[in-house]
Symmetry: C2
Subunit: 337 residues, 2 copies
Amino acid sequence: MQRKRVTLDEVARIAGVSRATVSLVVRKSPLVADHTREKVEQVMAELDYVRDIGAARLRNNSSRTVGVIVPNLVNSFFTEFLAGVERVMGEDDRVVLLANSQDDPRRQDDILQRFRGHGVDGVILCPAAGTDPDLPGRMRRWGLPVVQSLREIGRGATDYAGADYIDGVRLAVQHLVRLGRRRIAFLSVGARTSAREERLAGFARALAETGAKDAGIVEADLSWEGAAHSAAEVLALPSRPDAVLCFNDILAAGLMRGLRRAGIEPGRDMAVMGLDDLPLAELTYPPLSSIAMDPAGIGVAAARLLARRLADPAAPPERSILAPRLVIRESSGAEAG
Amino acid sequence: MQRKRVTLDEVARIAGVSRATVSLVVRKSPLVADHTREKVEQVMAELDYVRDIGAARLRNNSSRTVGVIVPNLVNSFFTEFLAGVERVMGEDDRVVLLANSQDDPRRQDDILQRFRGHGVDGVILCPAAGTDPDLPGRMRRWGLPVVQSLREIGRGATDYAGADYIDGVRLAVQHLVRLGRRRIAFLSVGARTSAREERLAGFARALAETGAKDAGIVEADLSWEGAAHSAAEVLALPSRPDAVLCFNDILAAGLMRGLRRAGIEPGRDMAVMGLDDLPLAELTYPPLSSIAMDPAGIGVAAARLLARRLADPAAPPERSILAPRLVIRESSGAEAG
DNA sequence: CGTTGCATTTAGATCGTTCTAAATCACAGG
DNA sequence: CCTGTGATTTAGAACGATCTAAATGCAACG
């Protein structure tokens, strides 16, 4: 059943050259004469030769494989990110080893060990909440190149690709203020990540800049049900908010369900905004105003950073921060006037 | 920068045993004496030894790596599927090579060659629309074990994991008929896949069983915008439908937007149902009645089938078909009575 | 004390590639 | 005809594991 592999030796024997020559042809070396190359390529096609990249890596230490670790595969923010990464890697003839840390640092460690064992050239990591702050250091000591993305441990320790969350939140707050909202609450999540810190920091800063009132911060489970349940808590805030900015669109959609159940009409009685502009933002009712972060673009950027890092391991760490964009729909309320 | 790998030889030297013994320890062989094992394990921990799986595979032909090819990473049906696969593989200490065919058979072929080159143990494949019918045959000739999932080329040629789409459609049609709907249309997609054929076949069969009228089949782009645009076409069908069953929830959500733009209230004036019960079905307005297909469960089943196949390559092909479940929300109209 | 049997350990070949250093070839120039 | 040069080609040693077959140690037995 298991068919035996066609090897360089076999091709060499049939083409009447040496193994080394065939290897050169495989690697498109300019050293080999045109007629030899043609002959060898023909034989390779006939025998359906497939180069064994594992064996190659054993010798030359490049597996053309990169690991990607995301905390979650249900949130489409991460899957769009992943799609961006995968596209660039595919174009670059690399292959993606995917793993899901489920936001658990222990699992994340296991995965990294597996990746090391498989000899990945590098890793793109969205660090799990609660990751050991020394992880970038450990990875450096392992000699494993890493690009962090979407979240970051030890700012500036490694390459990083992300969106400007702080500015994104600012855009949202400014938009709400322009529409006349003054008491703004923030619906946050429990998991301690740099993304959360940045969004909260951006919130505080934007309130200060616009003079809007901080109506309070509520924490919800990261699921639409969780957010729906938080509606009561939001409505009970001492200074009753007239707008809620949510950590992401999933929470925003859930919150809108919760508000409507409580008889509050989102978009009219209470402005609601999301962050991330997931595809579902278009489909909720009312359609959700949000801040587009272009996760696929971030994935592309992360993949490029890793490619650069692999080409030049000694280069100084680089950051690739994409600008967010305000997407106005209906949940933030009618246009002023 | 690139740190040199710790090898078996090194561990052996420091632990004062032979390379072969260390190898036995790594593989948890019962042949080695307890005190030796302890000593060796201690040294491995000290040196941070990581076994090179590529080198191991070269000798024993098992890479503990499987390839997964999906046509799309945006549709959460596929990402939930992927999450299921990844979970089982992780538990089983295997790693997933992910690739996205974008429903393009040429890309899919490239990916398979890459996978072969990386020495994957097997592949889980959701074949791209338009895949060469002989692909299962070619893969058999390559000696590459494969489990098809969600879609199928050459029924019964390989292991297969999926949901009973035909029965799923039947549940939907029966539900609509129970609510008094009589003229049912189907909003389909262009891509020719077994999933599409089964859903259409199920539709025809269910209409025959229930006596409902086929109000026509409309094809949309596989995106919510595409479906929104199709609303006009649906409304223009000669026997004006009173219900529309959609190929999936994304189309259903888009169609509802399109209907509302045209002044038709989904759920009241026109029943709308989706298939797949994606998370977004909860969040649309009105919430979408749908048929849960449990993609994560299918992913789990596919991973198990592949594990079985790897353990016993000669076993006869097996099918794992999950039963669908009706999820009633509001888009299908008020409860009868 | 030599032998047998069992548990444990090991040397050396091997997997399919790439690398290094050297060999071979073709041909021009002296 | 010999030598030097640049272009091709190659033999053989890696890479880091696993496998095979055999060696070793040790205790008990006759």
